[in-house]
C-alpha cells in the first residue's frame, strides 16, 4: 500500500491524499493522468487497465482495489 500511495501521490501531483478522495477531484485530473495510471498499473503490478476501468473506479481506494482484484 505504501508503494501504491507514494506512486499515486506523484501521478496525482499532491503530497498526500485520502483513499476516499475522488479521482476526478484532483486538479491534475485529465486524460494524461489516466494514461499515467494505466502505465503505472502495467509496470508495477502487471495489470492491464483501460481508461474506462480507471474512470469507473471512482476513488483512489477504488483504484487500489481494482488493481488488486486483477493481479
Amino acid at each position: 500500500m505504501d508503494k501504491f500511495k507514494a506512486q499515486m501521490a506523484e501521478i496525482l501531483e499532491v503530497d498526500d491524499f485520502n483513499l476516499s478522495d475522488e479521482l476526478k477531484s484532483f486538479e491534475c485530473w485529465d486524460s494524461l493522468t489516466i494514461l499515467s495510471i494505466i502505465a503505472f498499473a502495467g509496470d508495477s503490478y502487471n495489470v492491464a487497465l483501460s481508461a474506462n476501468d480507471v474512470i469507473g473506479s471512482k476513488t483512489v481506494g477504488g483504484l487500489y482495489e481494482l488493481i488488486n482484484s486483477k493481479k
Binding site: E10, I11, L32, T33, L35, S36, I38, A39, S50, A51
Partner: protein, 254 residues
C-alpha cells in the same frame, strides 16, 4: 506484349522482421507476390507460419527474439548458406509505448529503443557481411512512424525510438551508397492492425473519431504501407536513397 515491370522483385532475396502480423505480414505477402524469396523473422512462430502459408513455398521462417543479436547473426548466417545471399532487409518489428512523461520508465524506454531502433543497426551490420549481402541491388527499408515526425502526448518513448530511425536512414544511406546499398524509410500513419486495436483499448470512445480526423484519407490498410516498401526494394527506386516516405493518408500534411 513486353514483360517490362520495374516493380518486379523476381530473383530478390529479402529478410523481413516483424513478419508475423500487421504491416509485416501484409508486406511479406506483397513481396512474395512480386516474386521475392523471403526470410521471415518474428518472435511469434504461429503468426510466422500463417504468413508463410500465404507466401511462396520457398520462403523460410526464423522464430526468435530479434534483440538476441548474437543469435540473430548465427541464425541468419546459417540460413543464408542454403537460402542464398540477400538483396534486401525490411525492418518492421517494433512495439508501441504509450506513457506520459511522468510515468516513463527507463527499462521500458530502453526495451522499446532496442527493438524498434538499435536492431536496425544490427540488421544493417549483418546485411553488409560479405557472406550475407548478394553484392547487388541492395536495399534496406526501415519503418518509422508519423510519430517519428510529428509530436503527440504520452508518446515520447515511442517517438524517441521512431525519430531516431530517420537519422539512421540518412547516415546509413551515405555510408552504404558505395556498396550499392540504398537505405530508405517509410513513416506510416495509423493502419488497421492488432497493434492499433490494443492501443485503442486504452482510450475512450472518441479515440476512433479523433484518429479518423487526423487522416484526411481515412485510416490506412496494411497494404498501403506494404506497397511503398515494395517500391523501395525494387529497381523503380534505384535512384532513391536516404528518403523518408510519409505513408499516412495526409496525417503529416496538416
Amino acid at each position: 506484349m513486353s514483360s517490362f515491370n520495374p516493380f518486379s522483385l523476381e530473383g530478390r532475396r529479402i529478410l523481413v522482421t516483424g513478419a508475423a502480423s500487421g504491416i509485416g505480414k501484409a508486406t511479406s505477402i506483397m513481396l512474395s507476390k512480386l516474386g521475392a524469396k523471403l526470410l521471415l523473422i518474428d518472435i511469434n512462430r504461429e503468426g510466422l507460419l500463417e504468413t508463410k502459408q500465404l507466401c511462396s513455398t520457398d520462403d523460410q521462417i526464423l522464430a526468435f527474439d530479434l534483440v538476441d543479436f548474437p543469435k540473430l547473426k548465427a541464425e541468419v548466417l546459417e540460413m543464408v548458406l542454403n537460402f542464398g545471399k540477400l538483396n534486401g532487409v525490411v525492418h518492421l518489428a517494433g512495439k508501441s509505448y504509450i506513457a506520459p512523461l511522468k510515468s516513463i520508465s527507463e527499462e521500458k524506454c530502453f526495451d522499446v529503443f532496442t527493438l524498434n531502433t538499435y536492431s536496425a543497426l544490427e540488421l544493417a551490420k549483418l546485411f553488409i557481411n560479405r557472406n550475407i549481402y548478394a553484392g547487388e541491388k541492395g536495399s534496406i527499408v526501415l519503418v518509422s512512424s508519423v510519430y517519428g515526425i510529428v509530436g503527440s502526448p504520452a508518446n515520447v518513448g515511442y517517438a524517441m525510438s521512431k525519430s531516431a530511425l530517420l537519422g539512421i536512414t540518412k547516415s546509413l544511406a551515405m555510408e552504404l551508397a558505395g556498396k550499392g546499398i540504398r537505405v530508405n524509410c517509410v513513416a506510416p500513419g495509423f493502419v488497421k492492425t492488432n497493434m492499433l486495436n490494443s492501443a485503442s483499448e486504452l482510450f475512450d470512445a472518441n479515440y476512433a473519431e479523433t484518429l479518423n480526423r487526423l487522416h484526411p484519407l481515412g485510416i490506412g490498410e496494411p497494404d498501403d504501407v506494404a506497397s511503398s516498401i515494395a517500391y523501395l526494394l525494387s529497381d523503380a527506386a534505384k535512384w532513391v536513397t536516404g528518403a523518408v516516405f510519409n505513408i499516412d493518408g495526409g496525417f503529416t500534411a496538416q
